[in-house]
Symmetry: C2
DNA sequence: TATCTTTTTTGACATAAGTCAAGGATATCA
DNA sequence: TGATATCCTTGACTTATGTCAAAAAAGATA
């Protein structure tokens, strides 16, 4: 793959899936992986279509989502750099269960299904990393199902904000890096509802919303909302 | 493990996770696996507790569920014979993300975490089977999230019934093997709502409900309901 | 069979959240 | 910079589904 080989190698070893692999395995990978680029909004795969492999995102972000009959979208997750896309289907040999669109200009490495089987034979440890990845995602979905069915929208929002806050070292301020419409979809609701809830929490001095920047003024209140002790209703 | 050894061996090879393993591996497993029994209603593990291994269900059924702050339960899945219980947490090294209770007298094989790492070194192919298992469950959750957020309760019920019908060779008749209250929880709703919807579908001759036996009189209508074309509202 | 418990059904009611529609605010691009 | 498209907000309204309470039905126990 000429010029880009070294890029690949350094890139490859920084991918969790390939952590700790010996040099020969990395070289093998370098020959297998195929670089692909997607524009903002471009579709990467479609629900129901057969999977021929999976992607490792290098740069950019991809939203994986389902569509209702009326076209309402529910984002399942957002896949960012160094994460896997479409691995479950590729592995299980099932069609893709959801859509995937690039949210911005995205660079990814495509890993063809056939080559994967070969790699596993030569380097079984990869599978361990992959299992960890699947396990993590399962836990994410478990929490999501929990949220969707047991919490009301303000609770899901509060959980999301507190979670985001923790991720970013938690300076009491969260910068949401997706549109509010997309956030609504991620929370399993619609923009109008999200907007109203942000307003109410703002009025009650639980949050301070400035565009995409949200300050968590009262984390205790947020935790209470998650637990159904809703001081915001009134 | 004396007398039960051969039981184990025949049992073990019939577990998808251990399909196709050579004799020595099976013997190794026989020494590792620990038989455990649970009574109806007995708790097997609790949300938040540390996992020390996972179970392979031999007989009986286990419900895995989350609890809301007010005690409302959402069943995530029901684990039956030959399936894995708690594998994700055991593997990811995280605490259990949900509760698990035996729904009836249940026999299971416990697989301690430490021994698992050893097995993988000796028999990496097990991991492949395990990944397939995780992948399948991920797809199940994907569908579940889809249902919970994009479909209304009648749609979820319809999807459930049609799915069950397909599973059982589909003689147009489904015998639900859990209580209606539990089914409500599985569908992310409450018994009252489920009862009302069953009533309505009965009145409209889409279903015929006799206790736990449900006949699908009009599958086309059920499919329409899933797609939001709801002939039952009126 | 009779008694007790649990599950299911029904009714009246409350409410969270969705729909529809329109006006502002922001971003994007020439 | 101005023009155009997208995103966000707000209001009025509807509705699916949850809550509470009580009766009916079905199972379990003695």
């Amino acid at each position: 793959m000429g010029k880009k080989s070294t890029d690949h190698l350094s890139g490859i070893s920084s991918i969790p899936l390939f952590h700790g692999l010996p040099e020969p395995a990395l070289n093998l990978l370098d020959n297998i992986l195929e670089e692909r680029e997607f524009l903002r909004g471009e579709n990467i795969f479609t629900e129901g279509s057969r999977s021929t492999g999976f992607y490792i995102i290098v740069k950019g972000r991809v939203k994986v989502f389902k569509l209702s009959a009326e076209g309402k979208e529910q984002i399942l997750h957002i896949v960012g750099a160094k994460e896997l896309l479409g691995a479950v289907s590729a592995f299980a040999g099932n069609p893709y269960p959801a859509f995937a669109d690039a949210m911005e200009k995205t660079k990814a490495l495509f890993f063809p299904q056939n080559d994967f089987l070969e790699l596993i034979r030569k380097e079984p440890s990869v599978v361990m990393n992959m299992m960890a990845n699947l396990a993590m995602r399962l836990q994410h979905f478990t929490r999501m199902i929990d949220d969707l069915s047991l919490k009301e929208v303000p609770g899901r929002l509060a959980a999301y904000l507190l979670y985001m806050c923790e991720q970013n070292g938690c300076s009491d301020s969260v910068e949401i890096d997706i549109s509010k419409g997309q956030l609504a979809s991620l929370l399993g609701t619609i923009p109008e509802t999200l907007s109203r809830i942000l307003r109410k929490l703002s009025d009650n001095r639980v949050l301070e919303v400035k565009g995409k920047k949200i300050r968590l003024m009262n984390k205790k209140a947020l935790r209470d909302i998650i637990n159904g002790i809703d001081r915001v209703k009134s």
